[in-house]
Amino acid sequence: MSGPNEDNNTQLSSHIFGDLLDSIIVDVASECHRIAKLGLDRNLEEEEEEMRLSAQARARVADPSNSSETNTKYVVDIFGQTHPSVATEIFECMNCGRSIAAGRFAPHLEKCMGKGRKARLKVTRSSTAAQNRYSRGSPVSTYSPYSNSTSTNRLSNGTPSVAGEEYSNGTYEEPWNKT
């Protein structure tokens, strides 16, 4: 049930709303006019060109008929070389002197230096000395208020297939819980 008062109110409120809306539209127009006249608007043509090139690139990549970027492993590189999937170059470990294949160097070094999860339980003299000498907390990392450069924002890498024996699936800690 709507009496004359309510009709008036509805009319009045939509009138006021219309006024406010007009004012806001003119605000935006005025601001954009100023930006355009003062040359503050970014180079839209260049931006559009970048967008177009990106869209084009994505379309080409998505197209199955295109010879897509092949898995670069197992192919010949630009210098005409081929490499095995696990690096086979042999060199001496600088910690213990043993001969190690490059592709297995990191897991070896971890045990050799007493680092890593399993080795951390044994505290060796060298690792504590290293920790005391190179304590973290230098100004480079104080940027953290603006970024979560600490553990909460990390993308890990790791291919379970290329692993030493000690790599175990499924039981590793979530990376972001590491301190």
């Binding site: 690139a57 680092k115 290293a130």
Partner: protein, 523 residues
């Protein structure tokens, strides 16, 4: 306030505005100054104290746009403003009451005058309380890194391949889940300031060992890496010594397992800085640090916290070596995610004025009370090399899980950082008035060119990093030991995780030096 040329164009006044200024100079503006009122959000209007509600002289209307004549202060609506000009000769210029914008009645368009903007801004600044913290740092970019010297140290070019590939291109063996390290090293070693620094032997390894005797120096390790990469030998190099040294430096990250490339990047810069500050025995804060890591990557972020009630703004500056960006579609629901995520969108999000929730009220020095505030970040000083880190990580508090966001992010090859500078952000807060604000920094350019992209593929816990490098107008994919040529389209379509841009001038200079045809001498 000094008057300096700024990055925008001061438009030529129309004939009528020019005439007005010739005849009346600033009289009209000055008398108007007392009538200007600024709201805390930065909007300035003309508040004629005499009348309560401004009404058009002709029709008595109060709706729509109203203008006040600069000559006689009479008010007209947009319909009748022309009548006013016609009835009174010389009354050509008026001001939009709501927005304090000049209007030329004869051109029927909004016009702009730096002198008028100066009046408005002075009023706006006066309206805000004085005493803003003003930790202004003038910084020297120190770009010249002896490019001539580095040319001399480039080794004989490799004549083996059919076509000549740029020096410095060399694969890195994966030592066991170390692609995170390889990808960052490729990007770092090809960053022009770093590459030149090490190629010109600014850090002499023999001298370092002689003087400091320490077994561990990350600078020496990187220097050794650079030498190896630029030696002309194209067989993949094993950065084992580097890994060993790095694990000794960052013992908390030393383990054979999945690692994050960005974390490694920060750790390496940290290591370089630490050594440098030990050497110089100084504890300079990062803005003035002259270690190569900071000289190349250090920039400065400005944070403005504004009281929403009185407009009082408190400003602080913080150094940074990179910028971590949230994806710009991260807050949208699945249905809305049809839009494209772009780097400029992420940067806009980063520099957006954000209202802090009512549960985090801050104490306003002016109001002397806890108030709702709005916070806005901007870049007060750009680095030589700009590293942008895309946070592809989403943490769900409900499910207590985290996942990787595979969303495609469009990024440009040529990047203009001007809109994200403090000067632009602050100016837009004052309505983009023509005025030389104190934070104008026209020393360094804001134009960047991309030179490296670190892309991640796969899942959160098990994925793979590769680096795309742009050298001599050709893109190369560095996938551990394999270096391949790729089309730029592959790079554009890739899932970027870290983007490396270098200031345009440095980029073109650097590429010239590295061309294969440069005359070379062996070391």
């Amino acid at each position: 306030m000094c008057l300096r040329s700024s990055s925008y164009t001061s438009p030529k006044p129309c004939k009528h505005l020019a005439d007005y200024k010739l005849r009346h100079a600033f009289n009209g503006y000055d008398s108007l100054q007392n009538c200007l009122k600024t709201t805390p959000i930065g909007r300035t209007r003309v508040d004629n104290h005499n009348t309560k509600i401004p009404r058009c002289n002709f029709c008595n209307g109060y709706q729509g746009r109203l203008y006040i004549c600069l000559m006689c202060s009479s008010i007209s609506c947009s319909t009748h403003i022309l009548l006013h000009t016609q009835s009174k000769s010389g009354h050509d210029v008026a001001i939009d009451i709501e927005r304090s914008e000049l209007y030329c009645c004869l051109c029927c368009d909004q016009v702009y005058d730096p002198d008028f903007d100066k009046v408005v801004v002075s009023e706006q600044i006066k309206g805000l309380c004085p005493g803003r913290s003003n930790k202004r740092r003038r910084l020297d970019s120190g770009m010249e890194l002896d490019l001539k010297k580095s040319k001399r140290l480039i080794a004989m070019r490799d004549g083996r391949a059919k076509s000549c590939y740029p020096l410095g291109l060399r694969g890195l063996n994966n030592l066991g889940n170390t692609c995170f390290m390889n990808s960052v090293l490729q990007a770092l070693l090809h960053a022009p300031p770093l590459r030149n620094y090490f190629l010109s032997d600014h850090h002499n390894r023999d001298e370092c060992k002689r003087r400091y005797g320490e077994k561990l120096c990350l600078l020496c390790e990187i220097g050794a890496l650079v030498s190896a990469m630029f030696s002309g030998d194209r067989s993949p190099y094993s950065p084992a010594q580097f890994l060993y040294s790095w694990w000794q430096h960052s013992s908390n990250l030393a383990s054979y397992e999945e690692q994050d490339a960005h974390e490694f990047f920060i750790s390496v810069l940290d290591g370089i800085h630490e050594k440098e500050s030990k050497v110089r025995n100084s504890s300079k804060d990062d803005g003035d640090c002259q270690c190569i890591a900071h000289r190349a990557f250090s920039g400065s972020l400005r944070s403005d916290v504004t009281c929403t009630i009185c407009g009082f703004t408190s400003t602080t500056y913080d150094p940074c070596v990179d910028i971590s960006l949230n994806l710009d579609t991260v807050n949208l629901s699945a249905a809305e995610k049809t839009g494209l995520s772009t780097l400029s969108g992420c940067l806009n999000l980063f520099t957006r004025a954000e209202r802090l929730g009512s549960d985090s009220k801050l104490h306003c020095q002016n109001c002397q009370e806890l108030r709702d505030t709005s916070k806005q970040l901007s870049i007060s000083r750009l680095p030589l090399v700009l590293c942008l880190h895309i946070k592809r990580f989403e943490h769900s508090l409900i499910r207590k899980t985290s996942r990787k966001i595979d969303q495609y992010l469009q990024f440009p090859f040529a990047l203009d950082m001007t809109p994200y500078l403090s000067s632009s952000i602050v100016r837009s807060r004052f309505g983009n008035r023509i005025f030389a604000f104190e934070c104008e920094n026209s020393d360094s350019s804001a134009e960047y060119e991309i030179f490296a992209v670190i892309a991640h593929s796969g899942m959160l816990e098990s994925g793979h990093y590769v680096t795309y490098l742009h050298v001599n107008n050709q893109w190369y994919k560095c996938d551990d030991a394999w270096i391949c040529e790729v089309d730029e389209g592959i790079v554009r379509a890739s899932q970027c995780y870290m983007l490396f841009y270098v200031q345009k001038l440095l980029y073109y200079k650097a590429n010239k030096d590295l061309s294969c045809n440069a005359s070379v001498e062996s070391r």
